[in-house]
Amino acid sequence: MRGLRPAIRRFGPGLLLGGLAAGIVAVAAGAAILFGGVYHTGADNPHLEPVAWAVHQTMISSVRHRAKREPVVPPATPARLIAGAQQYEAHCISCHGGPGVARAPWASALLPTPPFLIDARTRWTPRELRVLVAHGVKMSAMPAWEEILPGEAIDDLVMFLEFMPRLDARRFERLRERVRAMPTDPLMASGPAVSLAPLPLRETQPLSRGIVPDPSKPPNTRP
């Protein structure tokens, strides 16, 4: 205690002055960014590596935290997987591509650039995927899809994302052809996403074989 008072007397003014100077510099830097335009917000100017890491890590932590309160995604059925594939075709494929399918040219001009999602299920749990799809990602081009789509459509999409790594490029292309030929646009419909009547699917079929016919095998001609 006895040593403290002289120390304050000796270093106190210096510390105060230093703190004041640091504060002035911080305010000046803040003003330069906010009003001086020194920070480059253009998407052709990548973040510094630590900034990129910090932004990405913040997103990952936020999604993981929020997933605890997100509704649980129900188990997939063939019908819902088809509905999810239709949603994916309508809303996701241009930015995220698919097995053997490139993203639209503009996707590589986005910062952050949207990832391919074939291994999304190894990065995220279904509930975390639901957080990402339903609520989007701030300061990226990822929209909060639950703002314009019903909750079931979000679940369908997550089911399809979980299923996607089981499709090779040819089977994915056949699935795309099938959902493109469907009459109902799930975007505009608020009720059940698609009519299931014309689909030769049985709930008991294994998902991996029921959704898209394997091109190497003859088509099932049974009614």
Binding site: P46, E49, A52, W53, H56, G97, G98, P99, G100, V101, A102, R103, P105, A107, S108, A109, T113, P114, P115, F116, L117, I118, D119, T122, P165, D168, A169, R170
Partner: protein, 131 residues
């Protein structure tokens, strides 16, 4: 001070002129090298790899966040003998594969991303620089 030593000003001037000339020559050679068609720029390659989201399917040591588990890791790609296990690994082979992966290995998940020739050369240069 220096101007009073008349004898040392001459050689200094000559040295300066020679140095400037040499620097110009080096700069000229450098820029000529960059324009050589076969040569890509590794740093531009790293940017292209990031922008094209290669890392969402490939683990690529040296590209932050590139930890994909869909295709093969690209570590030491340059020392690999074959691309996609099918065609010889060369700039020509890489170009052919990136231009149309389905024609090399039908059904595989790798898409034709419409890479420009410049991007392909830069990416090849980056992979080369990683051994």
């Amino acid at each position: 001070m220096q101007s009073r030593h008349g004898r040392s000003a001459g050689p200094d001037l000559i040295a300066a002129v020679l140095l400037a000339g040499f620097a110009t020559l080096v700069a000229a050679c450098g820029s000529r090298g960059e324009l050589t068609p076969a040569r890509g720029d590794p740093r531009a390659g790293a940017v292209a790899i990031t922008r094209r989201a290669c890392g969402s399917c490939h683990a690529i040591a040296g590209i932050p966040g590139a930890d994909g588990r869909v295709g093969p890791p690209l570590a030491r790609f340059a020392s690999r003998k074959l691309i996609a296990g099918r065609i010889p690994n060369s700039l020509e082979g890489l170009r052919r594969y990136l231009d149309d992966p389905q024609s090399v290995d039908p059904g595989n998940a790798m898409p034709d991303q419409g890479l420009t020739d410049r991007e392909i050369r830069d990416i090849a240069a980056w992979l080369e620089s990683r051994g």
